[in-house]
């Protein structure tokens, strides 16, 4: 039981961290990274709810199938988002990034 809770809370922390970074960071690449971290957090919560210790029964496979689906979906959208971000830079004078650093790192939170 404690393992389930530990990993659930780990997942929740990842989700929140990603959410904060998504809103706070301005660089598109970091926003996409943040989305990935959020997704991993959601998957971790889902898998953690299904976990059972060895010897206390079979693991429910449905969440695992759901997470596999989720991972594949997330790599597809990540790829699309990355190319879109590159494309925005290529076509517009307006630059999404001006430097490697961005707002978030300078705020010192």
């Amino acid at each position: 039981m404690i393992t389930n809770l530990l990993y659930s809370f780990g997942g929740l922390m990842l989700f929140s961290m990603g959410l904060f970074a998504l809103i706070a960071c301005s660089h598109p690449l970091r926003k996409i990274l943040a989305i990935n971290v959020m997704a991993t957090g959601v998957f971790l919560i889902l898998i953690a709810t299904a976990y059972r210790q060895i010897g206390t029964g079979e693991i429910d496979p449905v969440p695992q199938a759901m997470v596999l689906t989720g991972i594949v979906v997330s790599v597809s959208v990540t790829a699309l988002a990355l190319i879109l971000a590159c494309r925005v830079q290529e076509t517009s004078n307006h630059s999404l990034i001006q430097r490697k650093k961005d707002d978030f790192t300078r705020t010192g939170t």
């Binding site: 929740l12 790599v75 290529e90 001006q98 705020t107």
Partner: protein, 237 residues
């Protein structure tokens, strides 16, 4: 376009950021409470999966859920991957450099050694997916890795694969999956209801086709754009 600019150079803590931080923190606390208060639900779908496992045609419960019990989800998911490629192709052409770069001898040797092994391992994963961990997605990912390796070492032929062949490869998985599902509809009267006794072999067929498509899809996503000749036939006119 204020959103993306980084003109704001203040060193101190931004009040908006602080607000966001507070909101995220309170969200975390609320959700944490919700996690704590949930009772451990014992009645889950796992028992149903175990009960119908034998009818699914595969031994691995995860594969059974993915391709049989909830195969409809997976069909749509294969479409999601394909749509990502269509989206990327619609955005831009693949940025191959103008001059071909000759890969170094060590790199070439590594690629020559590694890629066949990866391809073998990919099909092993697909083959074993019915009983152990692995399956179309894992196999496809390894296959995609092999393709990416070849892309990175910029082998000359890889840029010259005709777009049409690529498209056929990308569509193989979705076509086989949807085609099987429609065949089931015609023969058995229900969408995706595999005929009795045929489930195992049909699932292997679907998985193999999907693994090839997923591998190619991931490689195309990595290449980052459509091949040069994708629109050429229309341009001649």
């Amino acid at each position: 376009m204020r959103r993306y600019s980084t003109h704001n150079k203040r060193k101190r803590l931004n009040p908006v950021l602080l607000l966001v931080l507070l909101l995220t923190a309170s969200l975390t606390i609320l959700l944490g409470r919700a996690i704590l208060t949930t009772d451990y639900q014992t009645e889950r779908l796992g028992d149903d999966v175990a009960q119908f496992q034998k009818l699914s045609g595969v031994e691995s419960p995860v594969t059974a859920v993915l391709l049989n019990f909830r195969g409809y989800d997976t069909l749509l998911e294969v479409m999601v991957l394909l749509m990502a490629v269509v989206g990327v192709w619609s955005l831009t052409q693949a940025p191959f450099p103008g001059k071909p770069i000759e890969p170094g001898p060590v790199q070439l040797a590594v690629v020559r050694l590694l890629t066949p092994l990866m391809v073998l391992f990919a099909f092993y994963l697909v083959w074993k997916g019915s009983s152990l961990a692995g399956g179309a997605f894992q196999g496809g990912a390894v296959l995609g890795g092999a393709c990416v390796l070849m892309l990175v070492s910029e082998l000359p032929w890889i840029k010259n694969i005709p777009s049409r062949h690529l498209r056929i490869g990308l569509l193989a998985g979705p076509f086989v999956f949807l085609g099987t599902a429609i065949l089931c509809l015609i023969l058995e009267g229900t969408f995706l209801a595999y005929p009795q006794g045929w489930a195992g072999s049909l699932l292997l067929l679907i998985e193999t086709a999907c693994a090839v498509s997923i591998g190619l899809t991931l490689a195309c996503l990595f290449a980052g754009g459509r091949p040069k000749d994708d629109l050429s036939r229309g341009r001649k006119r």
